[in-house]
């Protein structure tokens, strides 16, 4: 089956679980006037052709450019994914900037993504495109080429990041429609704000950056049942 609409041979797919994207969208919705960022968890094929994003850990909305909180968070998330029985690792980075009209990978984002790429050379980056997100949230039909998450992959040289085909991002479960229904419901019901990131955790360790409550909400909302 075809991944891309361009004639170039597309060698990569980035499949994302609904749960991962829900958490990302809640994080962005909770802090609409800030930049938010986080890490992507999941698996990558040895040759980097299939990336599976199964979860995200929201990092910051206040401390994105600060090195100490970033290092501490990454160390702990890595410790988490290294536990016996873990079937995922850190495979990438996301951010959402409230102000920029077109999706860009900011210098801060590049630095963090570069760091992650040291351990996982096939890391990917997802940047939330605000214009496409607005269309998505208003119910406009989603195609492979206008879904709201702009993917970036490593340059062939190994230094720097380039935009990948928008259509390389797809859903591992459910549909774009069911994703919209879920996130709209969470926003209407004000439940999006239960998402906790590392800034919240550093201010109050009881706030869990694994967001088990949000994971539970995600499980009940099956596509077609809303």
């Amino acid at each position: 089956h075809q991944h891309c609409s361009t004639p170039v041979i597309c060698r990569m797919t980035i499949r994302c679980s609904q749960l991962a994207l829900i958490k990302l969208l809640c994080h962005a919705a909770k802090h609409p006037s800030s930049t938010v960022n986080g890490v992507l968890l999941g698996t990558v094929d040895a040759d980097g052709s299939n990336v599976n994003v199964t979860n995200v850990v929201p990092l910051f909305h206040l401390s994105c450019p600060l090195a100490a909180p970033t290092e501490v968070a990454l160390a702990q998330i890595e410790a988490y994914t290294s536990q016996p029985g873990s079937n995922s690792s850190i495979i990438g980075y996301y951010h959402s900037d409230s102000r920029i009209a077109a999706s860009e990978l900011s210098p801060v984002g590049r630095r963090i993504a570069d760091k992650l790429a040291v351990k996982q050379p096939n890391s990917v980056v997802l940047v939330l495109d605000n214009k496409r997100l607005a269309s998505f949230m208003s119910g406009e039909p989603v195609t492979a080429d206008n879904q709201p998450f702009e993917p970036f992959t490593r340059e062939a040289s190994g230094r720097g990041w380039k935009r990948a085909a928008t259509s390389s991002v797809s859903l591992a479960d459910g549909t774009w429609q069911s994703l919209l229904i879920q996130i709209s419901g969470l926003i209407r019901g004000q439940q999006y704000s239960i998402v906790a990131d590392w800034d919240d955790h550093l201010d109050d360790p009881a706030k869990d950056w694994l967001n088990p409550e949000l994971s539970k909400l995600g499980k009940f909302a099956l596509p077609g049942q809303q």
Partner: protein, 299 residues
């Protein structure tokens, strides 16, 4: 007294569960004003309900404060028509006020009419050169235009005059951080610490910026994280983790010479103990992860 973030959590939780009585809504909106919160969705939704259902029974000053608060929130989430309706009501009631003018300017900004907004704010300043509201909107305008350097320049001019305005210094620091101008951000935090020498969040953030600069700034970062730990009575988890980060980078060992160096040598173990205490109480599921990381700094 001022609401705490724990009280806000409580109220938010009740509202999410469906409680919508007048007093709960009032308390939430009041806390939003006091704590200058940014949860624009919640403020729009709950504020709109309060105004729609309970205006008649609220004190007049509160109704107009709500108009301003909800209009601002509504504009920021894109509910422009609703925001505009509130602004029209304010403008009708207070026709020549700076507050109404500022709201009108924000409406123009939300509509993307930035030049129009800029002219309005400049007119406000022409009429009242000390109008803080207008000066600050001009800064916000530059941010909206994506002109962070311009915003920093405007704000720098502002703090040259209003040098005791904590919020302005904080905002300037944030803009500098976004521009990766860490030394300038440090300068802002030094001013803020002068204004509020025992306010832990400033000490921590100053240390955070110093740490980000790295190199020769690490020992000063360690000093400020330590100060934050001390003043917060060991409660600042951010400061404790900041110290852990410092310990992993500052490799030169202090030699035991005096009380000061003794304190420095004993610090990693104390920090590890304090963090373990926090996680045992508040986040036991994360304790195994934390212990692994702390072992590295204590050896």
């Amino acid at each position: 007294g001022m609401a705490s973030s724990e009280e806000l959590e409580q109220v938010s939780l009740q509202l999410r569960k469906g409680g919508r009585d007048r007093e709960l809504l009032r308390v939430f909106m009041r806390m939003g004003r006091e704590l200058r919160l940014k949860d624009a969705h919640a403020h729009t939704v709950y504020g709109a309900e309060l105004l729609a259902k309970h205006s008649a029974s609220l004190p007049v000053e509160e109704v107009w404060a709500l108009h301003e608060q909800v209009a601002t929130a509504a504009l920021s989430i894109g509910s422009i028509q609703y925001g505009a309706s509130l602004i029209r009501a304010v403008a009708k009631e207070f026709p020549d006020s700076m507050r109404a003018a500022r709201l009108k300017g924000m409406y123009w900004e939300a509509q993307g009419e930035l030049d129009q907004a800029e002219q309005l704010y400049k007119d406000m300043l022409a009429e009242q050169p000390s109008c803080v509201m207008a000066a600050k909107r001009l800064v916000a305008l530059e941010k909206t235009r994506g002109n962070l350097q311009g915003a920093a320049d405007q704000l720098r001019k502002y703090v040259d005059i209003w040098c005791n305005d904590r919020e302005a210094w904080e905002e300037l620091a944030e803009i500098y951080l976004e521009l990766a101008m860490y030394k300038q951000a440090c300068f802002c935090y030094e001013e803020l610490i002068t204004l509020a020498p025992t306010y832990v969040p400033f000490l921590v953030r100053y240390a955070d910026v110093l740490y980000t600069l790295g190199g020769s700034h690490l020992t000063l970062a360690r000093t400020y994280y330590s100060k934050a730990v001390e003043i917060s009575g060991g409660r600042s988890v951010r400061a404790l983790w900041g110290l852990v980060a410092c310990f992993t980078h500052i490799t030169d060992k202090a030699t035991l010479q005096d009380a000061k160096t003794r304190a420095l040598i004993e610090l990693p173990a104390q920090v590890a103990k304090a963090l373990q205490g926090h996680y045992t109480t508040a986040a036991p599921s994360k304790l195994p992860l934390v212990i692994g990381l702390l072992e590295a700094i204590v050896t």
